[in-house]
């Protein structure tokens, strides 16, 4: 079976044309990045503001919990029935999937900032928005990034269902492999998804190194 998969990967037709691995991989990345960017644009500001003011926190968490409980297939089907096949239903379903972890982690990250630090910031003369952007956001960043990483991995793995509503991505290999009874194609497609998830994990580790303050990175490692 491993040889079959290797054979599948090395066949030349896999690497060219509109149904080839590079194109499908690119489509998958595109769908995932789009969903993630939209989700972050929704979830991070809402999480920051609710976490900072303490108002609407319960509502935000409730929305996130409902979002977590929504079956992705159901959301996808509803939007397809309403608006037809295409990229839009897939993106709605993926955003519904990605918003909850980012929102909850952003909110929790801001809420978790030590009140003493907040007092100190105010004592130094910082105003509300400054406290949020210069104290709470940097301190919450590790948790926000963790939420984004979780969301990204879920999105990458779930974007495979895009193939069910007639568009591309790596799910094509899985769905087409099933209908053609070609196990090596399903395996090949799945391996590519896992590869992408590993790349995502690596990218977030790198991002963390780049944007999280050095003091925050060192502390947990020293105590844990």
């Amino acid at each position: 079976m491993i040889l079959d998969v290797l054979d599948w990967f090395t066949r030349s037709e896999q690497w060219t044309g509109s149904g080839g691995i590079p194109v499908r991989f690119g489509e998958h990345v595109l769908y995932s990045v789009l969903a993630l960017v939209v989700s972050a644009l929704i979830a991070v500001p809402v999480g920051l503001v609710t976490g900072h003011t303490g108002r609407g926190g319960f509502a935000a968490i409730t929305v996130a919990n409902v979002g977590r409980a929504l079956p992705t297939i159901g959301v996808l089907t509803l939007v397809v029935l309403g608006m037809g096949l295409g990229l839009f239903p897939v993106e709605v379903a993926l955003v519904a999937l990605a918003v909850p972890p980012i929102l909850v982690n952003t909110y929790e990250g801001v809420r978790g900032v030590d009140p003493l630090l907040r007092d100190a910031a105010q004592g130094m003369g910082m105003r509300g928005a400054q406290v949020l952007l210069r104290l709470e956001l940097p301190l919450a960043l590790p948790l926000i990034l963790l939420g984004m990483r979780t969301a990204a991995i879920q999105v990458v793995s779930t974007a495979t269902i895009a193939a069910y509503v007639g568009i591309g991505g790596l799910g094509r290999f899985i769905v087409d492999g099933q209908s053609r009874r070609e196990i090596e194609m399903i395996l090949g497609g799945s391996l590519l998804v896992v590869l992408l998830a590993l790349v995502v994990t690596g990218l977030f580790a790198l991002l963390r190194r780049l944007v999280v303050a050095r003091g925050l990175r060192a502390r947990p490692a020293a105590t844990g």
Binding site: A69, L70, I73, G74, L81, P101, L143, T150, S157, R208
Partner: protein, 270 residues
């Protein structure tokens, strides 16, 4: 569920849509709805229990030998990244259309949530508690079962809640492969017949099931850990924050259990 019904429930038609959904639900309770709901419950409870049965020993071992924890964590995270659709298809030749085809992959996914929570829960057991148990003559095994696991229980249940809700929502994917559950209503009665009512019923029931299961786990935790009750009353901001660690609806993926920065750091440095 405004965002789910939105694109279809356009305002003028909205009342009619609600009626249509109610009609369909009432006239189909016995036939597809009840058996699919039951299937859905079975397909979600079994993976969580199976996952817990694997995660507990794995987590205990990882907490005991921390050198291996990064490897374990990487392993469960890789499993988590496998697309469920692919796993279902790949198991089909071996387990056929039996429930195991859905249960095994779903159980694997719960590990990514449960194992870190078991480890974090055990790591949070204060040293003096552990030493007191040893001083009282507890053997390591008895100390684990009678002292450390009970103290870790709120964190473990926090993970269990996240895992349960995630599993209930993911079971629907199993229907793409024809394994039953509420997703079957969504797909065969809804998608293929181009009919929204069954889809809405399926989504609502799935969400309701998730919330019910979550509530039951909260009750279970209250019952099993009576000493954590009332911790939240009259708290200073510091102890309120401590209490919130036990309040899992807010749990990030690895559970709200651990102090915020710790799970992140551990995951990344692995």
């Amino acid at each position: 569920m405004p965002d789910a019904a939105g694109p279809i429930g356009l305002p003028p038609r909205f009342a009619g849509q609600v009626g249509e959904v109610a009609d369909w639900a009432l006239s189909n309770i016995d036939d597809p709805i009840a058996p699919r709901l039951l299937e859905h419950v079975q397909l979600s409870v079994a993976p969580v229990l199976l996952g817990l049965a694997v995660a507990l020993p794995l987590g205990v071992a990882a907490a005991r030998w921390p050198r291996w924890y990064p490897a374990v964590l990487t392993g469960v995270n890789v499993l988590y990244a496998l697309p469920s659709l692919a796993l279902f298809f790949l198991l089909l030749p071996y387990t056929g259309f039996s429930p195991w085809t859905a249960i095994i992959p779903l159980a694997l996914y719960t590990l990514a949530i449960l194992v870190p929570n078991v480890v974090d829960g055990l790591d949070q057991v204060p040293d003096h508690v552990r030493q007191a148990a040893t001083a009282m003559g507890f053997s390591p095994m008895r100390r684990l079962v009678r002292v450390e696991l009970p103290v870790a229980l709120p964190v473990i249940i926090a993970g269990l809640r996240v895992a349960t809700v995630a599993t209930i929502s993911m079971v629907s994917v199993a229907s793409l492969v024809g394994l039953g559950g509420l997703g079957q209503i969504i797909l065969t009665d809804g998608f293929r017949r181009n009919f929204a009512a069954p889809v809405v019923v399926g989504v609502l029931l799935s969400v309701a099931l998730a919330f019910l299961a979550d509530g039951l786990l909260v009750l279970l935790q209250r019952w099993l850990t009576p000493w954590t009750r009332g911790r939240e009353t009259g708290a200073t901001s510091r102890s309120r924050r401590a209490a919130r660690r036990d309040a899992p609806p807010t749990a990030p993926d690895t559970g709200s259990a651990a102090p915020p920065a710790a799970p992140a750091a551990r995951g990344e440095d692995a």
